[in-house]
């Protein structure tokens, strides 16, 4: 062999041997450095080397190689990479190959050292990148929670400050106090501006990342995201011996478009899957599924764990910093993230214990349609109120339902609204708000978004559902810290008419109330005497909590008894029985005041007082006036009682004339 060829294998890192039998190998070219580094003692002789004694890996391979040589096959026999330790302790990867060339049995040893190291580096980088990605995703999740906390917690006290200071400035206070107040207002304005700027920065940030990924169309495929999360968590599941799969009942070919954004939606699935894995014993399975619910699409993750803890309600499970007592939940942020994100997209989330075993975590998101983004109202809509498009109208007294879980805001806002002449019913959470809505009639409902038990959205939806088929529609105002255009669109879709950013100013609220559809100028002077005596049908229905049947029964009872009661009063006046007069007049006063017959009530009151005083001389005259009023009321109530339900509603609409001066009577 020429000298060049003698040195070439060595330069290329190959060690070439011819097999001599009995485990001995004869080098047929110069041996590379790495070979002498491992087998220093074996390489210096020019004679055959007993390689099979040098390394157990090699010994193993040589058994295979010998078989290969004996079979005289034409292909090669190659080993995996194994690691040898050099004399100095360095780890050197080695591969071996057996060839049959020109009738000779050739062994090639090769160290893929540099390539091997490169490979390991790439694998490690990839692994690190994966970990970084995971860490960053969690950071972003934390940031979103922080954002949420800024919106909700930090701006809540501001509302209280504004309303409190507004309240104060309407009181008669000294000049010095006024100066303090101006100072305070200025400081809180500054703070509000700063919070708004932070929020703007955050939401711009989020929006930019959204737009870049999806060209402004925030729609994701529910199933696609579920599968991506499933794949990325595959190894984790394998490690614990839990199987994860899509439910066989799901149509894999169908599209499942929802209002969402890919990376956050995958995050939600990852959180739910990790949660399921945490509670599922080895050998069991976790199942993902999606379902079509019409306007909404639902996704669920079922586990075969112990079911939900009995001491926690589902809404607590999704709370901030909640974690299971047993089982290694982390900071309790994961499920909270799921909830705030799903709710931001206009969906809902929940969990149940499954009948046989395990639990189901589910969420539903609105099905996305292509034209949705273009129809979503802009956040500026709310600020448009200050524009000149619509004419402000002086506020008339309204019946207002105010729901807010924060006591300060509730008390102060109610105080202010009452001062403005409105009638206010307060509710401390969503469930009470809905209850109040069903038990009386309101013009306006002002609903806080973040309430325990039932959010403002949910209340709004429930109210709109209950109103279906009815002519009367309550004017819904959302008060919320989330005032991006995304949120405004979502709130309007939930059925709100107006969105009021938090912290809100009384001027803003008054402005919104002044646009209340059908608002009419407040009548400052006492209302002209109504040709019809008594409250409107709508007012009466409200007084009995919306129960039209009950109202009809009451009217019927009244009309049935009234002749007897009037003749009764006539006869006690004739008999000059003051005590009986006071008693009968009092009872009648109760009835007529229920029906809002103010003049008749006054006459009854006068008769009652006459009866108590024992001086009946004026009774006949007052009784005459009372009879006239009663006649009017009777006619009116007969009209109500004879109305069919359909006519009843249209007449209610017509009779929303100038409001009577109701406040006076109530004081």
């Amino acid at each position: 062999m020429p000298d060049v060829l003698q040195e070439f294998p060595m330069e290329m890192g190959f060690a070439l041997f011819e097999y001599c039998g009995d485990g001995n190998f004869l080098p047929i070219a110069q041996l590379p450095d790495w070979f002498s580094e491992i087998w220093a003692g074996a390489g210096n002789a020019s004679g055959p080397i007993p390689l099979s004694q040098q390394s157990p890996f090699l010994e193993n391979f040589l058994l295979e190689a010998e078989e290969f040589w004996n079979s005289h096959a034409s292909a090669a026999c190659q080993s995996e990479t194994w690691i040898e330790k050099s004399v100095s302790g360095r780890e050197i990867p080695v591969q071996a190959k057996a060839l049959f060339l020109g009738g000779k049995r050739i062994l090639v040893l090769f160290s893929p050292d540099s390539q091997f190291r490169e490979q390991v580096r790439i694998l490690q980088t990839a692994r690190n990148a994966l970990l970084d990605h995971e860490r960053l995703a969690r950071e972003i999740q934390k940031k979103e929670i922080l954002l949420h906390c800024i919106v909700h917690d930090l701006s809540q006290p501001l509302s209280v400050m504004h309303v409190a200071m507004d309240s104060l400035s309407q009181e008669s206070i000294s000049e010095r106090s006024k100066q303090f107040l101006t100072l305070g207002k200025h400081a809180s304005d500054q703070q509000e501006t700063m919070i708004r700027q932070i929020l703007q920065a955050f939401s711009d940030d989020l929006r930019a990342s959204l737009d870049a990924g999806t060209e402004g169309n925030s729609s994701s495929d529910l199933l696609e995201c579920a599968r991506k999360s499933m794949i990325s968590l595959g190894l984790t599941f394998d490690a614990k011996g839990v199987r994860v799969a899509v439910s066989p009942s799901v149509d894999l070919k169908a599209k499942w478009p929802v209002v969402a954004e890919d990376s956050r939606l995958q995050r939600i699935f990852s959180n739910l899957l990790e949660n399921a894995l945490r509670y599922t014993p080895a050998g069991r399975r976790v199942t993902i599924g999606v379902e079509d619910e019409g306007d909404f699409l639902k996704a669920y993750v079922d586990d075969e764990g112990p079911g939900l803890p009995q001491d926690l309600r589902p809404e607590q499970i999704f709370g901030l910093f909640m974690k299971g007592k047993q089982g290694g939940g982390k900071a309790g942020l994961g499920l909270y993230f799921c909830r705030i994100t799903v709710e931001r997209w206009g969906g809902s989330i929940g969990c149940v214990t499954l009948p046989v075993k395990g639990s189901r975590f589910w969420f539903r998101l609105p099905r996305s349609a292509d034209n949705m983004a273009t129809h979503a109202p802009n956040a500026r809509d709310a600020s448009d109120l200050t524009g000149t498009k619509r004419k402000p109208i002086p506020i008339r007294p309204l019946r207002i339902l105010l729901a807010d879980d924060q006591e300060d805001i509730r008390t102060l806002t109610a105080y202010q609204l009452k001062r403005s002449g409105h009638k206010v019913v307060v509710a401390r959470d969503g469930i009470h708000a809905l209850k109040a809505f069903h038990s009386a009639s309101f013009d306006v409902a002002l609903l806080d978004q973040e309430m325990p038990g039932m959010t403002g959205d949910e209340v709004a939806r429930a109210i709109r559902t209950a109103e279906q088929g009815k002519k009367k529609r309550v004017f819904l105002v959302a008060s919320t810290g989330n005032t991006t255009s995304e949120d405004a669109g979502r709130l309007k879709q939930a059925g709100f008419d107006e969105v009021l950013g938090k912290p809100f100013r009384l001027e803003d609220l008054n402005l919104i109330l002044s646009y209340f559809p059908g608002a009419e100028p407040a009548v400052k002077t006492p209302a002209p005497p109504s040709p019809q005596e008594g409250a409107t049908l709508a007012e009466l229905t409200a007084r009995v909590g919306g129960d039209e049947k009950l109202l009809k029964r009451m009217i019927h009872t009244f009309l049935r008894d009234i002749p007897k009661r009037v003749t009764g009063i006539a006869s006690v006046i004739r008999r000059k029985d003051p005590e009986a007069l006071a008693s009968l007049a009092h009872a009648l006063k109760g009835s007529v005041s229920i029906f809002g017959a103010e003049t008749a009530r006054k006459r009854c009151q006068e008769l009652q007082e006459l009866g108590r005083s024992g001086e009946l001389s004026a009774a006949v005259e007052i009784f005459g006036a009372l009879k006239e009023e009663i006649a009017k009321l009777q006619a009116n109530l007969r009209g109500y009682a004879n109305q069919t339900p359909a006519r009843l509603k249209s007449s209610h609409a017509k009779r929303q004339g100038p409001p009577r001066n109701r406040g006076k009577r109530r004081r």
Binding site: R543, F558, D561, S583, G590
Partner: protein, 276 residues
């Protein structure tokens, strides 16, 4: 299911209240006069009575008087449009639970009844020490629900005053009573706050004596009332540091609403005065 008796001589009102409460799931009986109400009460145990004052045969107040000394006296809510202070004072003496203004509406009715029935039976009643037109004195348990009840009584003693004055005094009194119950009595229903209401020709005065040890102005850094003149927002910072809910404006508001607000040295007694 709680049993409620509605004693009311006006058939329409009776019908309405029965209708509304029955729909809420309550078991409702009715009586058209004081005597039949008394008979019904003797026959059966009731949890709550909605009582009209002016009824034939026996008045509501007469009925309350008759019940006095009975073993089981149900909670009584008086429904009245009657503004005479005698009715209020007699009701107070008769351990009436609360007042309900007539004509009632469904919402107020339901919430008043719900509240009365859901109250913890272990909470001691309001003790009436004096029920005189010019001097009312009460011992009330330190429990949140008594605030609105006490106010439902006392506000009816001031009905001859202009609405604005009533509103301001009402707010101030409520704030002080809340403070006494929360800070002085630590919401412990076994502790009592003594409330005196004194009405003369020229002034209206409330005195509240809470069971706590009082407080120092220095300890009130979390309230706006103690802010230094050059830093009207100082208490906000303090509240934040102590992790208190935002607020602390009550005392300051109260100061603005009435003519005088005077504390004793220990600051566990306060007098509120409005000149008429």
């Amino acid at each position: 299911m709680p049993h409620i008796l509605v004693a009311e001589d006006d058939a329409t009102t009776r019908e309405m209240i029965r209708g509304i409460l029955t729909k809420q799931g309550y078991d409702v009986s009715t009586a058209a006069d004081g005597m039949s109400a008394l008979r019904t009460l003797k026959k059966r145990k009731f949890d709550l009575v909605l009582l009209d004052i002016w009824m034939p045969k026996m008045s509501g107040l007469g009925l309350i008087g008759t019940l006095h000394g009975e073993q089981h006296i149900p909670k009584i809510i008086v429904m009245t449009s009657d503004k005479t202070s005698d009715t209020v004072l007699n009701s107070l003496r008769g351990q009436v639970y609360q007042f309900l203004a007539k004509p009632v509406d469904a919402h107020t009715l339901i919430s008043t009844v719900d509240n009365a029935l859901s109250e913890d039976p272990a909470i001691p009643p309001i003790e009436v020490l004096s029920a005189n037109k010019h001097w009312v004195e009460l011992l009330v348990p330190c429990e949140r629900s008594v605030v609105s009840r006490v106010q439902s009584f006392l506000s009816r003693l001031e009905t001859d005053l202009p609405a604005e004055v009533m509103e301001k005094v009402g707010y101030a009194f409520r704030e002080l009573l809340n403070n006494a119950i929360e800070w002085g009595g630590h919401l412990d229903p076994n502790l009592k706050v003594r409330i005196s209401y004194i009405r003369t020709r020229k002034l209206l005065m409330y005195r509240l004596d809470d069971p706590g040890p009082g407080f120092k102005m220095e300890d009130l850094k979390h309230a706006a009332v103690s802010n230094p003149a050059d830093d009207p927002m100082a208490h906000m910072t303090v509240r934040e540091q102590r992790g208190l809910r935002p607020g602390g404006l009550g005392l300051m508001l109260t100061q603005q609403l009435v003519d005088e607000l005077v504390y004793n040295e220990a600051r566990n007694e306060v007098v509120l005065i409005k000149y008429l």
